[in-house]
């Protein structure tokens, strides 16, 4: 079984956006253009996160999902603002293979069982978004990282183990967008207490971080954003003379967001991982 290299696209409207600690979002260009690029670059999976749906009680992703799913023949997981069986059905009908849900599962844990019964466990991923408090404890955040539920992350994982789920997608707000590397302590702790597939994200700034994430714990894969997006905006021809150039210019000028991140394409990352003895699909 190969460790999966998942391209994560945070989406607002139909645009790919990126922030730091899930805040200060910048538009990078049409999400479907990036999705196609990552498919061609041999991404193993795409993860779309609608970063405003949880906040404004709406789902705006369907068109982007449909547009992407027609042309891209790798799995697509979609999250953001999903709060009912009907929402899940709509996202799947639009062409997603799996859904990722955070807020609604924490608000109504019984919804997790309901969703699994309805769609089968393998379609239902639990997204966990964590931040460490002053005591160093990781607690779960909802509404795209805005609100602290004070629920202990490990305790929540144990509850998910009991309910069963297709996958756990873990994002550390502390590390997200910083390029400072993964929260390996938390990843190790969680990987040891669950036998549900685990995808980890938040913090990868260079290829060494990715290697550490894969080798340092029993994970099923890593999700990547900044590191591949900052590479893609330079290398997608269609993005020339569009908003993306302006965005990339802004990002490049904001040293604090950029100097820890060494952009790399998915193929570069995979080739480097292969040299380190990690088998990848290329």
């Amino acid at each position: 079984m190969l460790p999966r290299i998942v391209a994560r696209l945070d989406i607002k409207g139909n645009q790919l956006c990126k922030g730091i600690h899930l805040e200060g979002l910048k538009y990078l260009g049409p999400a479907s253009t990036f999705a196609k690029h990552y498919y061609e670059e041999k991404a193993d999976e795409l993860l779309f996160m609608d970063c405003v749906a949880s906040l404004y009680q709406r789902n705006s992703l369907y068109e982007v999902i449909e547009e992407t799913a027609k042309n891209i023949f790798i799995p697509l997981t979609v999250g953001g603002g999903i709060r009912s069986i009907a929402d899940i059905q709509n996202v799947l009908n639009a062409g997603a293979d799996k859904v990722a849900i955070n807020t609604e599962f924490l608000k109504r844990p019984e919804f997790l069982e309901e969703a699994i019964t309805h769609f089968g466990a393998s379609t239902i991923c639990v997204s966990i978004v964590t931040k460490r408090n002053l005591q160093g404890q990781s607690t779960c955040y909802i509404n795209n990282g805005r609100d602290n539920t004070r629920k202990d992350a490990l305790e929540w994982v144990n509850e998910i183990n009991n309910a069963g789920a297709g996958e756990i997608i873990l994002t550390s707000i502390d590390q997200e967008g910083t390029g400072l590397g993964y929260d390996m302590d938390l990843i190790k702790q969680i990987s040891e207490i669950t036998n549900i597939p685990l995808i980890v994200g938040g913090g990868a700034g260079n290829i060494n971080h990715i290697e550490e994430g894969i080798k340092g714990a029993q994970v099923s894969g890593v999700s990547l954003a900044s590191i591949i997006h900052y590479d893609a905006i330079k290398n997608i021809p269609e993005l020339e003379s569009t908003q993306a150039q302006e965005s990339s210019f802004t990002i490049l000028n904001e040293k604090k967001s950029f100097d820890k991140i060494e952009p790399a394409s998915i193929l570069e990352i995979k080739n480097q991982l292969i040299k380190q003895g990690i088998i990848c699909r290329t």
């Binding site: 799913a69 023949f73 799995p75 062409g95 393998s122 036998n195």
Partner: protein
């Protein structure tokens, strides 16, 4: 060449449709038996639970439509749950009967794997042809390729000759493609396995057109 995809609200219709379209298999979403009768190939997709999937097929009368077309010799391609439904029965959520086109059982990974192993088996894994598979339509299509899997149950045909390819998950080997006469069952998702997956649809088109 027309390909009917059985619509019984069991997921992955959309992606199977677009993969077929991409390679020129002329897909149609089939809501009735007539569409199956008119097609050259029938695809039974599927994601979800075994028993309830079989129930929905029966409620809509698709079970008889499918059996009739298989008996006429029409190619039937099952994908994921659709593949498992071709076997005799499954132990998912109690014992549930399948079509029984290929004699065998669907079993739980949880019962054969160490409790620390992650289930579902999800991700890209190696698909290797068996000696029978090397003489099948896939002889020039699959060469130890990585394909995308998502499943918690695996297929175990009674006869090894019905296993065309196998895959290992944590040293446990299971059938990832099964076949017999005009029947073909694929455990992974060729519609989600990139170029190599699309090649499977191309081979199906070239073989049956």
């Amino acid at each position: 060449m027309k390909t009917a995809i059985v619509n019984y609200e069991a997921g992955n219709l959309f992606s199977v449709f677009h993969a077929c379209k991409n390679v020129g298999l002329n897909p149609l979403i089939a809501d009735d038996g007539q569409t199956l009768d008119d097609a050259d190939i029938v695809i039974l997709p599927g994601v979800g639970a075994y028993g309830s999937a079989m129930n929905v097929l029966q409620e809509r009368g698709f079970d008889e439509d499918i059996i009739r077309n298989v008996e006429k010799g029409k190619p039937l391609i099952g994908i994921c749950l659709g593949m498992q439904l071709m076997l005799s029965e499954s132990e998912e959520l109690g014992v549930n009967k399948g079509f029984g086109f290929i004699s065998g059982r669907v079993k739980s990974f949880r019962n054969v794997l160490d409790s620390a192993v992650r289930v579902p088996h999800v991700g890209w894994n190696n698909v290797t042809l068996t000696p029978q598979g090397s003489e099948s339509l896939f002889s020039h299509t699959i060469d130890s390729d990585y394909m995308y899997f998502v499943h918690s149950f695996y297929a175990q045909p009674d006869k090894s000759e019905h296993s065309l390819a196998h895959t290992s998950y944590e040293d446990f080997q299971f059938s990832s493609i099964i076949g017999k006469d005009n029947l073909l069952g694929i455990q992974f998702h060729p519609e989600r396995s990139g170029d190599k997956g699309l090649n499977i649809f191309r081979t199906i088109k070239n073989t049956f057109s």
